[in-house]
């Protein structure tokens, strides 16, 4: 065998080995080690903690929801007796928006917060993600379940954390993952069922909430101070407001999202 042939064979073998040895985790361009922290700020005093509450109003009527076709997987279709619609834009009966991620964007300075021991739960149920939007703190566990009788793959597509793609057949053990870096928000998808989408917000602090069927949110336990509160919606982007809260004070911050104004 000539040297050229040997080199050619070695190259192909190396490529095969490279492919075969690769895991389903994308090599992150950033190191997994958390960045060096600034000196920790003072802890929050519960006696002076304040609250910010409010609602997110949608200012463009009630858009026609996009229907999901689940006929590509009979098991999915069989789980629903009525039409299923996308959760991308859900306007509640009171004109508020559901699945908006509201959080403290600025104002906490270098305060640090313990990582919750309880995991957040993300379930694959009825070939949909439940909840559609979920918030966690950095390094907090996310427990992922497959409650369906069909195969899913769960695939977060972060930009600041490690990307991975894992299959979850029916009856699979819960999958426990975490995200060491702050990131807003990580799209999560199931490539088997392309309508399945979810978002995970990862923050260093616990001051976040997701609006529900009444479109409201509450951020409790805030130390007195001036904050920028942001409300993020997957289609319309984010809007922000500044608020100042004193000791034990409760302030209301209502957001209005219009398709044109949001995300500007």
């Amino acid at each position: 065998m000539t040297t050229r042939k040997l080199l050619g064979s070695a190259t192909i073998l190396a490529l095969v080995l490279l492919a075969a040895c690769g895991g389903a985790e994308k090599p992150a361009e950033v190191a997994e080690k958390p960045a060096a922290e600034a000196p920790a700020g003072p802890p929050v005093d519960p006696a002076t903690a304040a609250t910010v509450t409010g609602k997110v109003v949608y200012k463009d009527g009630k858009p026609q929801p996009n229907r999901i076709r689940m006929d590509a997987d009979a098991a999915c279709a069989a789980m629903h007796g009525t039409p299923v619609f996308s959760h991308e834009v859900v306007v509640n009966d009171n004109g508020t928006l559901r699945y908006v991620f509201v959080y403290v964007k600025e104002g906490l300075d270098n305060r640090t917060f313990p990582t919750p021991k309880e995991p957040a739960v993300l379930d694959q149920r009825g070939c949909l993600y439940t909840p559609h939007v979920v918030g966690v703190q950095t390094n907090q566990d996310v427990k992922i379940l497959n409650s369906d009788s069909t195969t899913h793959n769960i695939h977060p597509v972060p930009t600041n954390n490690r990307e991975w793609n894992t299959s979850m057949p029916p009856g699979a053990e819960p999958l426990v993952k975490n995200f060491p870096r702050e990131e807003l928000l990580i799209p999560v998808k199931c490539n088997v069922h392309p309508w399945m989408k979810s978002y995970i917000g990862v923050l260093k602090h616990p001051f976040f909430a997701v609006t529900g069927i009444d479109g409201t949110f509450t951020l409790k336990g805030l130390p007195p101070g001036e904050y920028t509160i942001a409300a993020w919606q997957e289609k319309f982007g984010a809007v922000e407001q500044k608020v100042t809260v004193g000791p034990k004070e409760t302030k209301t911050v209502d957001f209005t999202i219009t398709p044109k104004a949001a995300g500007d």
């Binding site: 490529l15 997987d73 069909t150 195969t151 793959n153 991975w164």
Partner: protein, 305 residues
């Protein structure tokens, strides 16, 4: 002496090329349905050879199955050529095709295991088109028409037809790469639209040259007509695919009309490139190059073409 044509081998080469065309369409179905990562492992699918074919697993695993068939067909074709083909360069081309199909499979595996890195995905899409050209070329070389000796037509024009057809094929290849880059979100639509204008001009120029100056060369005329027809269809399909993309932007999942238009556009792109390669090959077979003696066509050196 020219070896007698091997009809069975020719038919098998045609079958391999046809299967490769189906593989192109199967690959486009994967991309259009966003199914590239529906099966997270490779070379097995969910740890088995036959996973449940539900949802997008159908497209991804189906693509792997068609690819396996094409790999087997290419292996048989390469072995058959090694055993029965008298022309050494055709035998070697068969082995090159085998190497390319293996490399293409490995690239496909890397795209899955490394979560669709764009350069690898684009390389996978491009090599697919090149392999299809290789399979079609082998079918042409194995056919009886290629073996027929015929006097070469004189080409005294500038640029020479050989160069023009080569440039057209290269421009089409660049255009397919731009298309793959757009499909994999690595580039916008503008470069692809500019490329469409360039290839339309080059194809029209090449086809006109063939039809006007080389009307007595049936293989050239056939190839040029096919190229021009495919390009016209491809331009329409491209416009349709883009409109379908815009039209389905709000949908909860890839819509059928978007998938159909995109798959047709990708497959027709491969066919257009392959037809330009075939035209180029025939230009070398039936048209004299600059300074080339026409009598050379029937010398013993050329008898093994």
């Amino acid at each position: 002496m020219v070896a007698p044509p091997n009809t069975s081998l020719h038919r098998f080469a045609l079958l391999t090329a046809a299967a490769t065309f189906l593989l192109l369409a199967a690959g486009a179905l994967v991309t259009s349905n966003d199914a590239g990562l529906a099966v997270p492992d490779w070379p097995l699918s969910y740890g088995t050879w036959m996973p449940p074919m539900v949802g997008n697993i159908f497209y991804e695993h189906g693509h792997r199955m068609v690819a396996t068939v094409v790999g087997l067909l290419t292996t048989v074709l390469a072995l058959w050529l090694c055993l029965k083909e008298p022309r050494r360069w055709v035998r070697r081309l068969g082995l090159v095709a085998l190497g390319v199909v293996v490399l293409q499979g490995v690239l496909g595996g890397i795209t899955v295991l490394f979560l669709l890195p764009r350069p690898v995905s684009i390389a996978h899409a491009t090599l697919a088109q090149l392999f299809f050209c290789l399979a079609v070329s082998l079918a042409v070389f194995a056919g009886p028409a290629w073996r027929e000796e015929a006097p070469k037509a004189v080409d005294a024009s500038s640029p020479p037809l050989r160069r023009l057809s080569q440039a057209t094929a290269l421009a089409l290849l660049a255009q397919l790469i731009l298309g793959a880059a757009f499909r994999h979100s690595a580039a916008g639509i503008v470069p692809h639209l500019f490329g469409a204008a360039v290839v339309a001009f080059l194809v029209a120029w090449t086809a006109r040259r063939v039809l006007v100056q080389f009307a007595a060369q049936p293989e050239l005329v056939r190839s040029a007509r096919m190229l021009a027809g495919l390009l016209a269809a491809q331009l329409l399909l491209g416009a349709g695919a883009y409109l379908a993309r815009l039209g389905s932007a709000e949908s909860a999942q890839p819509e059928l009309f978007y998938v159909a238009a995109t798959v047709a556009h990708v497959a027709a792109g491969g066919a257009t490139l392959a037809s330009s390669v075939v035209l180029t090959l025939w230009c070398y077979r039936r048209v004299s190059g600059p300074g080339e003696s026409i009598a050379l066509a029937s010398t013993p050196q050329r008898a093994t073409i």
